[in-house]
């Protein structure tokens, strides 16, 4: 062959002349499963060892028990710890936490939907970017700082009370705070305040998936609905909401599970009535009852599993 042969002429190149990279590429191209293994291997190892591994340990821990005299963990599988878990006081904690999580979830969904709808349907590209930033911005600062800030905002001497005074609504607030269960000496020490802060901190986690779901609803479906005689309200109920529902469910998985497991907000704004997170904290800390703490943690996992199965039976994922 002449030395002036064009370099790009692949056919005239013998296989022995191919550059190394090309040979590696061909080798991999013919073995797609090897590529998949190389791609998925590292994250899968991480998932299995760190994530599932620690969950399994947690589960095993919850079947150990604590020797009441020595305070030592007895490493024998038993249901004794779960029996300890089953006390009226603890059931109260579960019920309280789950109720709070449910109320927070519903509220965030109701608040998030209009904003997400506006972002998906009406906002210009620029405004949308601004709104994204506005939704995400709070997540850039420490969550502890924000909760603490809310404690100051909600305090008796805080800015919210001042506003309420200016608006002459102090009586309304007092009436609310005097209500059983949700009330308290001030907003900063009450379930009502806790609820407000929970809704605030988890709202972005609801807005983003709902917005993404709404964004995926083709405009032509809304037009088809109108074309078939549906008024805007009917289109919302029969077309938009069902199609956005998977997004709401995705968001609710965040808000629900984050509320179930949180201890910072109840710790900062709560009273002596514990939430699950606080119970786990005190059991791992002062009481040092690791098996019971583990059992406590298994409960929200169970509640979540129950929730997901329920959502599936209701057809929440049908439109996916």
């Amino acid at each position: 062959m002449s030395p002036t042969r064009p370099a790009r002429d692949r056919d005239s190149q013998g296989p022995e002349e191919r550059p190394v990279l090309l040979r590696i590429a061909s080798f991999l191209y013919l073995r797609p499963s090897l590529v998949l293994a190389l791609l998925l291997g590292p994250p899968l190892v991480w998932m299995i060892v760190v994530y599932l591994g620690s969950l399994v340990f947690l589960l095993i821990q919850s079947f150990f028990s604590l020797d009441p005299f020595t305070g030592q963990v007895i490493r024998v599988l038993t249901l004794a710890t779960y029996k300890d878990l089953w006390t009226p006081a603890n059931l109260d904690i579960f019920f309280r936490t789950a109720t709070m999580a449910a109320v927070v979830t519903v509220t965030t969904a109701v608040l998030a939907f209009p904003l997400a709808y506006f972002m998906a349907r009406y906002a210009s590209t620029r405004l949308k970017t601004v709104l994204y930033l506005a939704v995400l911005l709070p997540l850039w600062s420490s969550y502890l700082v924000r909760v603490y800030a809310w404690r100051l905002i909600l305090a008796k001497e805080g800015i919210l009370n001042w506003f309420i005074q200016q608006l002459d609504l102090t009586r309304v607030l007092d009436l609310l705070l005097r209500a059983p269960v949700i009330g308290g000496p001030s907003l900063s020490v009450s379930f009502l305040g806790m609820f407000i802060v929970f809704v605030y901190v988890w709202l972005p986690y609801m807005i983003l998936p709902v917005q993404a779901a709404l964004e995926r609803v083709p405009r032509s479906l809304l037009e088809a609905s109108g074309d078939l005689g549906a008024r805007p309200g009917q289109t919302l109920r029969h077309v938009t909401l069902p199609l956005a529902f998977p997004g709401v469910i995705a968001g609710s998985i965040f808000t629900f599970s984050l509320t179930l497991g949180d201890f910072v907000v109840p710790y900062s704004l709560g009273n002596s009535s514990f939430f699950i997170g606080q119970a786990v904290l005190s059991l791992t800390g002062t009481a040092f009852n690791i098996p019971l703490a583990a059992a406590f943690t298994v409960v929200p996992m169970g509640i979540m599993a129950f929730y997901l199965v329920g959502a599936r039976t209701l057809g929440a994922f049908d439109a996916l």
């Binding site: 479906l221 037009e223 109108g226 074309d227 005689g229 549906a230 049908d318 439109a319």
Partner: protein
């Protein structure tokens, strides 16, 4: 002024920012008519339908349905239904729920809904599919569901936006026939958008040919094909040979056009033609025949050399070059040939066609071009 018109557009203009999608168009579509909007991509077909359906409001002009000005009446109060370009079936509903949607919005009793949905599905030949989801249907089946979903409401006018666009050729042809028969049966006015000229010719009572937001010609398929109003229409509808030249003589009804080098062709006169004007003479490939001897009076005759013969199945296309370099196509049905066409390659032949088979189009003078 219009009593029998199902839909009327009068002086409608639609401007999107910088784009003029529709430029002062006026159309009158009769009751029960199968009316097609035909034109290349981006010419404003979909925009016209959206204005009639009420998804867009005209920048200027008026849309009338059944003689009533639509003004700002929203889509859900207009007596029209649409079959969308991409069907737009509701993915979270079954076929039955999709078709029933319009009736449910009118609060019709459950029993009546079941019966009417059943009838509609039967009409589009899709019985027994009620429980399926759109995703579980083929493209053609989805198209039928979209049709049933619109028809079940018995609209005054049905708007169809390239409803057969996604189907393969065979199914497309079958659906064309079915649609046409269905329209005869239900007697609803169809406004049918397509960029497929053959489809428009096959199905329509009348066609509006559009380009760049303008309506260039409205007429029956026969008129549009045989008497195209502009060079664009002639070129867009079917195949056509375009031969440039200059008018050198006018004898009452016939204009004589000179191509290069003293070769002359004749064509029926058109208004505005004057001696010295640059024109384009158009003739359909199937109107030209190869002749052994000069034809009788009233025929055009020209010599050309064959450079390619293409077998198309039902027809054979013969590609020829005139002395001036212009390429012509002659299309002949594959029945008994005097000469085996493939033997014609590289041969010089005589072409003849009747004078009235040619059409003349004025080339724009520089002044007119400046205005357009």
């Amino acid at each position: 002024m219009s009593g029998g018109n199902a839909v009327e557009l009068s002086g409608v203009t639609k401007i999107f920012g910088e784009v003029t999608a529709l430029d002062n168009i006026s159309l009158e579509i009769g009751d029960g008519e199968f009316f097609s909007l035909l034109g290349p991509s981006g010419c404003g077909k979909t925009t016209s339908l959206r204005l009639i359906a009420g998804f867009e409001m005209p920048t200027a002009g008026e849309v009338l349905i059944g003689g009533r000005a639509m003004g700002h009446i929203p889509p859900y109060q207009r007596p029209v239904n649409t079959v969308f370009q991409n069907y737009a079936l509701f993915p979270h509903m079954t076929v039955h729920e999709n078709v029933a949607f319009g009736l449910e919005m009118q609060h019709i009793s459950r029993q009546d809904i079941r019966q009417q949905v059943g009838e509609a599905l039967e009409m589009v030949r899709l019985p027994g599919m009620e429980k399926r989801r759109p995703k579980q249907l083929s493209g053609g089946q989805q198209q039928r569901v979209a049709l049933a979903r619109a028809l079940v409401n018995r609209p005054k006018v049905l708007l169809l936006d390239e409803p057969l666009g996604a189907l393969d050729l065979k199914l497309r042809k079958a659906m064309q026939l079915e649609l046409k028969m269905l329209q005869d049966k239900v007697g609803i006015t169809f406004i049918y958008v397509t960029h497929d000229q053959e489809e428009a010719l096959t199905m329509s009572d009348r066609i509006a040919v559009m380009d760049h937001g303008l309506v260039l010609q409205v007429g029956t398929p026969h008129e549009i094909y045989e008497r195209p109003a502009t060079r664009f229409v002639a070129d867009f509808i079917g195949e056509t040979n375009l031969i440039p030249g200059e008018i050198v003589a006018i004898n009452r009804e016939v204009a004589e056009v000179e191509l290069a080098r003293g070769i002359r062709l004749k064509a029926p006169m058109v208004p505005g033609a004057t001696v010295g004007r640059s024109v384009t003479l158009a003739v359909r490939p199937e109107r030209i025949s190869l002749a052994a001897a000069p034809g009788p009076e009233g025929m055009n005759l020209i010599e050309a050399s064959v450079f390619e013969v293409v077998y198309n199945g039902a027809t054979t296309s013969i590609l020829l070059r005139l002395e001036s370099g212009i390429v012509l196509t002659v299309r002949q049905p594959n029945i008994a040939f005097a000469v085996e066409p493939s033997d014609l390659r590289e041969q010089r032949v005589r072409l003849v066609w009747p004078i009235e088979a040619s059409s003349l189009f004025m080339e724009k003078t520089p002044v007119e071009q400046g205005k357009a």
